[in-house]
Amino acid sequence: MGEITTLADAVARLVHDGDTVALEGFTHLIPVAAGHEIIRQRRRDLTLVRMTPDIVYDQLIGAGCARKLVFSWAGNPGVGSLHRFRDAAQHGWPVPLEIEEHSHAGMANRYVAGAAGLPFAVLRGYTGTDLPARTATIAPITCPFTGEVLTAVPALNPDVAIVHAQRADRDGNVQLWGITGVHKEVVLAARTSLVTVEEIVDELEPRPGALVLPSWTVTCVAEVPGGARPSYAMGYYDRDNDYYKSWDAISRDRDAFTDWLQREVL
C-alpha cells in the first residue's frame, strides 16, 4: 500500500536471496541507488531481470549478486560493452551467470502479459533468428482465427519490481513523466514493488499526461534524492554522460572494479 519507508528497510524487507528481481528504467529513471543497496545488503543468487542491463547491473553482477540474467540488450548505452557482465558470461567471474535472452519486443510483451494477469503474450517476432533455439521462453503459436504462426512468450512476474520516479505524496501515490519505459508494466506484473522517488511532497501537483501509479499498486516508496544518478530524472537532473564513459575504464579490470566497489558502494 505505498508504505513510506527508507531504502535500506525496503530492500531488507522485499529482496531476498534467490528472488527474481527486476530493476527497470529505460535510460531514464533507473533505480541505481536501490541497486547499490542490494549490493550493500549482500544479496545472492538473484535472478536479475531487465530489458537493458546497463551499468547498475554490471555492478550487481560484478559484486556477485546474480545467478541468472533475463534481458534483451546488455551494454553501456552509447559507449560499448559491459565488462563485468562479459567477464561473468565468458569466464564465470565472480560467479557463473546463466542467461535467458530475448529481444526488446519480447521482454516488453512478457511484462505486458504479467501486468495483464495472462499466462503469455503474442507477438510477431523472432522468426528466422537463432534466439528461439537458445531461449526456452520463446515458442511458436498458431492463431486460432487465421492460422498464422506467431510467437508466444510467457508472462514475467518478478518477486520484486524496483523503479525510480520523480515524486510521490505521503500516501504513496507515485507520479512520473518523460520516458516511462516499462515502469507501469513491471510494477503491475510484480508480486511486490519498491519505488524510489526524488522527493515526497505533501500534495502532488496535477500534471496532464503524467503517469501515476496509485498507492495501492505499490508496496513501498522510499525518498532517495539523486537515486537515479548517473541516469537522469527529467525535471530534476540530466544524464551524466561522462560517468557512463568513465565506467568503461573502471569496469574493464577486476581489481579496478573491486576497488571502486569498496570505495563507492560498500
Binding site: 548505452p77 529481444s103 520516458i179
Partner: protein, 247 residues
C-alpha cells in the same frame, strides 16, 4: 574540405534517407546520420527511438536512445511496449537503421555472440535489443557498419536479425513483413542486394578506395555490380553540419 572514411560513411547513410520518412533510429552512427539528414536534405524526417520518443528533434546528438533531449523535443512519448506493438510491429515505420558486429552475404546480422558455442562465446556482445523486430517489420533496412573481415563474414555465428536468410524467398517463408536490407553503408563503399539472388553486391566505392581494398576487407567472394560507381564526396555543407553535430 577533406574528409575521413567515417565521415564519408555517415554522409552516405544520411543521403540514403528520404524527406518525410519515418525512421527507427539506433544510437551511434545511425543516429548521427539521421540527425545529419534532418539538418540537410530531409527536414521532415521523423526520428523514432525505441525508448518511445516519436518525432524527436534533438538540437544535439544524444549519447543514448533515451536521452532527455529526445523526450523534450518529441511529438509524442510513448511506453516501450507501445513503441514496439503499435508503431513498429504493424509496419508504420519506413526505414530501420541498424549496426552489426557481424554481417553476412545475405545481410543477416549478428549482435549476440562471436564464436560457434553460444554457451561459451569468444566474445559476448550486447544482444538483440530492438533489432530483430526492426529488421523484420520496417519497410526497408539500412545497415551501417565498418568494413573489415571480422565483420563481413561468410556466415554469421548467430542470426540475431534476419536479412535475406539463406536467399530468395526466405523472408516470406519466415513471415517477415518488411522488405529487408536495402543498403549497406560502410567506410569503404556501399552494397545492395542483388534483385534475383539477394546477395549483397558492391555498388559504390567511396572516393579514393580501390576495389582490391574492399575485396580484402570482405570475408566472402564479393560480387561487384556491373554498374559500380564512385560515391560523390561529402560537400562542404554536409561536412560543416556533421562536424557541428559531433562537436
Amino acid at each position: 574540405m577533406t574528409h575521413t572514411p567515417g565521415e564519408m560513411m555517415t554522409v552516405a547513410a544520411a543521403r540514403a534517407l528520404t524527406d518525410g520518412d519515418r525512421c527507427f533510429v539506433g544510437i551511434g552512427k545511425p543516429s548521427t546520420a539521421a540527425n545529419l539528414a534532418r539538418r540537410t536534405h530531409a527536414p521532415h524526417l521523423v526520428l523514432v527511438y525505441e525508448s518511445g520518443t516519436i518525432g524527436a528533434k534533438p538540437d544535439r546528438l544524444p549519447l543514448s536512445i533515451g536521452d532527455g533531449v529526445l523526450a523534450e523535443t518529441a511529438d509524442a512519448v510513448v511506453s516501450v511496449p507501445e513503441i514496439f506493438n503499435y508503431w513498429l510491429q504493424p509496419g508504420r515505420i519506413d526505414v530501420g537503421f541498424l549496426g552489426a558486429a557481424q554481417l553476412d552475404r545475405f545481410g543477416n546480422i549478428n549482435t549476440t555472440v562471436i564464436g560457434e558455442d553460444y554457451a561459451r562465446p569468444k566474445v559476448r556482445l550486447p544482444g538483440a535489443g530492438g533489432a530483430p523486430e526492426i529488421a523484420a517489420s520496417c519497410r526497408e533496412v539500412i545497415v551501417i557498419v565498418t568494413h573489415s573481415r571480422r565483420t563481413f563474414v561468410e556466415r554469421v555465428d548467430f542470426v540475431t536479425s534476419v536479412g535475406f536468410g539463406t536467399g530468395p524467398g526466405d523472408r516470406e517463408r519466415h513471415g517477415l513483413r518488411g522488405g529487408g536490407p536495402r543498403l549497406v553503408v560502410t567506410d569503404l563503399g556501399m552494397l545492395a542486394p542483388d534483385p534475383q539472388t539477394r546477395e549483397l553486391t558492391l555498388t559504390r566505392l567511396h572516393p579514393g578506395v580501390t576495389l582490391d581494398e574492399v575485396r580484402a576487407a570482405t570475408g566472402w567472394e564479393l560480387r561487384v555490380s556491373p554498374d559500380l560507381r564512385v560515391t560523390e564526396a561529402p560537400t562542404d555543407t554536409e561536412l560543416r553540419v556533421l562536424r557541428a553535430l559531433e562537436s
